[in-house]
């Protein structure tokens, strides 16, 4: 009798794609600064994940595992291109985006986030969007916990200062 081969691995992989490709794409965009690169990073991440899928023992660890892979893929991009994180310029999001929030305070915050150095922006994205703890972020970014705390502290401080310069934002938040 002939059976369909590798169905469990494929099913597991498909579940990972359906569950986390949205988050990974958003994260990739905010660390790479470019939608095309973000697409490629997620594709590369999943190709690597497929190769090492057997090493993922716990489903609950899948998101952090994929996030770490994506981060390493992004680092490889820098190794290949020989440029620094500070060179990253976030491209503009298209105005046609279906759920694009065009409120002035959101636009101002988007601009402020783009101006924020990547080293501060990344832990902030991980914490605010996905609720990662300091320990999780430290593991994903291979940094000491205190360094992550300092970066989050500075990230919010810088954002707050930038936004407070904009009176509209200040009024909205107060």
């Amino acid at each position: 009798m002939v059976t369909v081969t590798k169905p469990e691995k494929h099913k597991k992989f498909e579940n990972l794609v359906n569950a986390y490709s949205g988050w990974l794409h958003r994260y990739a965009y905010w660390i790479s600064g470019n939608r095309t690169i973000a697409d490629d990073l997620v594709q590369e991440t999943y190709l690597r994940a497929w190769r090492f899928l057997d090493s993922l023992k716990e489903e609950s660890a899948a998101k952090s595992w994929l996030t770490t892979i994506l981060r390493r893929e992004n680092a490889r991009r820098f190794e290949r291109k020989q440029f620094e994180y500070s060179d990253v310029e976030l491209d503009s999001l298209p105005a046609t985006q279906s759920d694009f929030d065009a409120r002035p305070e959101v636009t101002a915050l988007r601009i402020a986030l783009k101006k924020l150095p990547a080293t501060y922006r990344e832990p902030l994205i991980l914490q605010v969007l996905e609720g990662y703890t300091l320990e999780d972020i430290a593991e994903i970014m291979s940094l000491p916990r205190n360094t992550v705390a300092t970066r989050l502290h500075r990230a919010r401080q810088k954002l707050k200062h930038q936004l407070e310069n904009d009176e509209r934002i200040s009024n909205e938040l107060s």
């Binding site: 009798m1 002939v2 059976t3 369909v4 081969t5 590798k6 169905p7 494929h10 992989f13 498909e14 794609v17 359906n18 490709s21 949205g22 794409h25 958003r26 965009y29 905010w30 939608r35 095309t36 973000a38 697409d39 997620v42 594709q43 999943y46 190709l47 497929w50 999001l93 298209p94 985006q97 279906s98 759920d99 694009f100 929030d101 409120r103 305070e105 959101v106 636009t107 915050l109 988007r110 986030l113 902030l124 994205i125 914490q127 605010v128 969007l129 300091l134 705390a149 989050l152 502290h153 919010r156 401080q157 954002l159 707050k160 936004l163 909205e172 938040l173 107060s174």
Partner: protein, 239 residues
């Protein structure tokens, strides 16, 4: 806890649940205002960082993985596996000859269809959203046809490492199982196996397999479906 420490913890995480911080926030209006601003700022960050997912993104990832697997170079283990298979083939040659009337591909298609048993339930239970059908067809490298009203079930399936669209489609009041296979090099042929009859056709570098249990109307249905699913996917970027 004093104001300085409260604000330090709040900047690290406005949702921090440190008991002393929470007590201080209840007692100090200034720090409370400071914390509320940061909580509001975090809420705005969630909105500000939204990025639209490209159309058919998940399907493209699955297709990419499938193509990558298919083009992977053989490793040392592959060669060892082939050698072992060769030895087994010699040992079990008589049995293999007996079973060779049906190629593995046909039997896998039939095994997959039998496992899903899509004819066993009311067809209306399987109606899928047009957007979902479009994504499924995209995963098989095919554009959504202009008239997709005859598709009553659709899913993406993986058979022997290939991602393909698995459809249940109506033609002349009969239902047919249709597999749309991207870049599949399956030769055109008819087959019959385990109560199923089928026909495989080549369309624009892809293969379409059409199956039913009676064998009735297969030829005209295959012609209709070949035209219906002939349009290659127009992607923005090469995968």
């Amino acid at each position: 806890m004093n104001c300085l420490e409260t604000r330090r913890l709040t900047l690290i995480n406005p949702q921090d649940s440190h008991p002393a911080r929470l007590v201080h926030l209840q007692e100090c209006a200034s720090c409370n205002r400071f914390a509320r601003k940061l909580v509001a700022q975090d809420e705005l960050i969630k909105e500000a960082t939204k990025v639209d997912l490209p159309e058919g993104f998940a399907a493209r990832i699955l297709l990419n993985q499938s193509l990558q697997s298919a083009s992977r170079r053989p490793t040392r283990w592959t060669w060892l596996g082939l050698a072992a298979s060769f030895l087994l083939a010699i040992v079990f040659l008589p049995t293999l000859i007996e079973d060779s009337f049906y190629s593995p591909f046909e039997t896998e298609l039939v095994a997959h269809v039998s496992a899903h048993n899509v004819f066993s339930k009311n067809a209306h239970d399987h109606v899928t959203e047009p957007e979902r059908i479009r994504q499924i067809l995209a995963s098989a490298g095919t554009e959504m046809p202009e008239d997709a009203g005859n598709i009553i079930y659709a899913s993406t399936c993986v058979i022997d490492g290939d991602v393909m669209a698995h459809l249940l489609v109506e033609n002349n009041e009969q239902q047919y199982v249709v597999f749309v296979m991207p870049q599949s090099a399956v030769a055109e042929r008819s087959f019959s196996h385990a109560d199923w009859a089928g026909q495989i056709a080549r369309v624009n570098n892809r293969s379409i397999a059409v199956l039913n249990q009676t064998g009735a109307g297969l030829q005209p249905a295959t012609t209709v479906f070949s035209e219906q699913f002939a349009q290659p996917l127009l992607t923005k970027r090469t995968i």
